[in-house]
Amino acid sequence: MKSRLLTVALGILTAIGGFLDAGDLVTNAVVGSRFGLSLAWVVLVGVVGICVFAHMSGKVAAVSGRATFEVIRERLGPTTAGLNLAASLAVTVLTLVAEVGGIALALQLASSVDHRLWVPVAALAVWLVLWRVKFNLMENVTGLLGLTLVGFAVAVFLLGPDWGDLAAQLVPQVPVQESAAVYWYFAVALFGAAMTPYEVFFFSSGGVEDGWTVKDLASSRLNVMVGFPLGGLLSVSIAACAAIVLLPAGIQVDSMSQLTLPIAEAGGTLLVAVVIVGLVAATFGAALETALSTGYTLSQYLGWSWGKFRRPARAPRFHLAMILALVVAVGVLMTNVDPIAVTEYSVVFSAVALPLTYLPILVVANDPEYMGEHVNGRFMNVLGTVYLFILVVAALAAIPLMIVTEAGG
């Protein structure tokens, strides 16, 4: 009993710690410094969405033993699934670039060594973990260390804001100095950051990696339903920190170092150090997840052997795909591109690619052949359909908004 409780607690804690990635960190800080908390509602919508999505894909993986992209290929056929693969892979690699850049930026904060020098080191470290460390251990360590990002929530309290004023900001409204198009552009970006498609590939494939069965469904649901909303709360607290300290000072976030300024203001050197550990852990964990996701999607589409539960020699093409993805990520970052800019684009393109993975999962979750008695209930289907609509609207709006606002101006 005791060990079971411990397992559940561990699952929830890693779900919280693993919720945030570079996209969430950057987008929430940018949004907080420009819009206060007036976009916090998007995080709520995104968190409910990722819960629905992760729950469905986890259930499909647990019941059928088949991961997301096997299902997509099987349902959509080679052509449509191939286009889907190309889009998903492009977005996932873009996210990987953002995450590896994020690790480098976070390490720069702790060392003052230029982030470009950290990029190859970070990529090598990611690869070594993928190569040698067991799935569970990797998940638990990055998840638990990522929990130190609770420092942002602590900072909100230490800053002692005018709570009434802060609550008033929660009302969705376009600030006077920003245009409606920019507001909605960042709404889409925040939504894409909360619901990145790689999390779904990762979640379903991770379910197979962990050997989930129907028995594990309850605990997986608990992890998701408790862990992700608390992770969302951390997202909002990042935005709140920016809204309390950076917004009044007229600081628009364009670098990761600015994330530490409200923390310094609130908790001093110690809290800054704790949060930097969290930044490294969160981006590192997400880099592992995105790298794995590139391997998962490609291998599952082509039917290759995959998974970290196998030794690399038993899944050679899967490991080769991940190595190539990391090489591409390092190559892109070596062009001196701004990792923050890459991150901002990656979350918007995530929003574009989301319906591609969401729809097949929704279809299969209703397929008795795969799911048997575990097909979606009426409530899940209503929720699933509402989210399908939201996802399609966000995906269609993303690119026009990006053009109109010149990527947020």
Partner: protein
């Protein structure tokens, strides 16, 4: 093309007025387009000035936190480094804009001066952060000055922007 034998005369008769109409429309647009271009350029100047102000404020916050012993030296250094990059980026951005009219160009010059003047104090803030602790008063004063110069320039740009903008495009509220 129109001389090609066998081509229906109806076709060329229809094309001529179309081309003419297009030319008239384009000619009519030309001056307005320049004014609109300037409005866009000035709004871009205004964005870059915001960036410069943001960089100055970042440096100021980093210096204050460091002076109070609340920010680790390495992190403060990175924050100031990023601020210098943003500030120089703003100068580069303003300097490379294409401006059509003299009026707008004067405003741009002013903005460029203000943005350039901000780089020094931000860089000085970084230098201060790298040294053993000393009173931060001078650095902060310089940052304050840069900040108010930038505010003045922003005000001027926004005024010019409102004037340059064609009547039809007034839609976005100017604070």
């Amino acid at each position: 093309m129109t001389n090609r034998p066998g081509r229906s005369p109806i076709c060329s008769r229809a094309v001529a007025p179309l081309v003419l109409a297009l030319m008239v429309v384009l000619a009519g647009c030309a001056p307005a387009a320049t004014r609109a271009d300037d409005a866009v350029a000035l709004s871009s100047v205004s964005d870059h000035l915001d960036d410069a102000s943001s960089a100055v404020a970042t440096a100021e916050l980093a210096v204050r936190s460091r002076a109070a012993g609340r920010l680790p030296a390495v992190t403060a250094d990175v924050a100031a480094d990023d601020a210098v990059e943003t500030a120089t980026g703003a100068v580069h951005g303003i300097g490379t804009l294409v401006i059509a009219t003299d009026d707008a160009d004067r405003v741009r010059e002013e903005a460029l001066d203000a943005a350039s003047a901000a780089v020094g104090p931000v860089a000085a803030a970084r230098t201060w952060l790298g040294r053993p602790p000393s009173p931060a008063g001078d650095v902060l004063r310089a940052l304050d000055d840069a900040s108010s110069t930038l505010d003045d320039a922003s005000g001027a740009v926004e005024q010019a922007e409102a004037e340059a903008r064609p009547e039809a495009q007034v839609g976005r509220a100017v604070p």
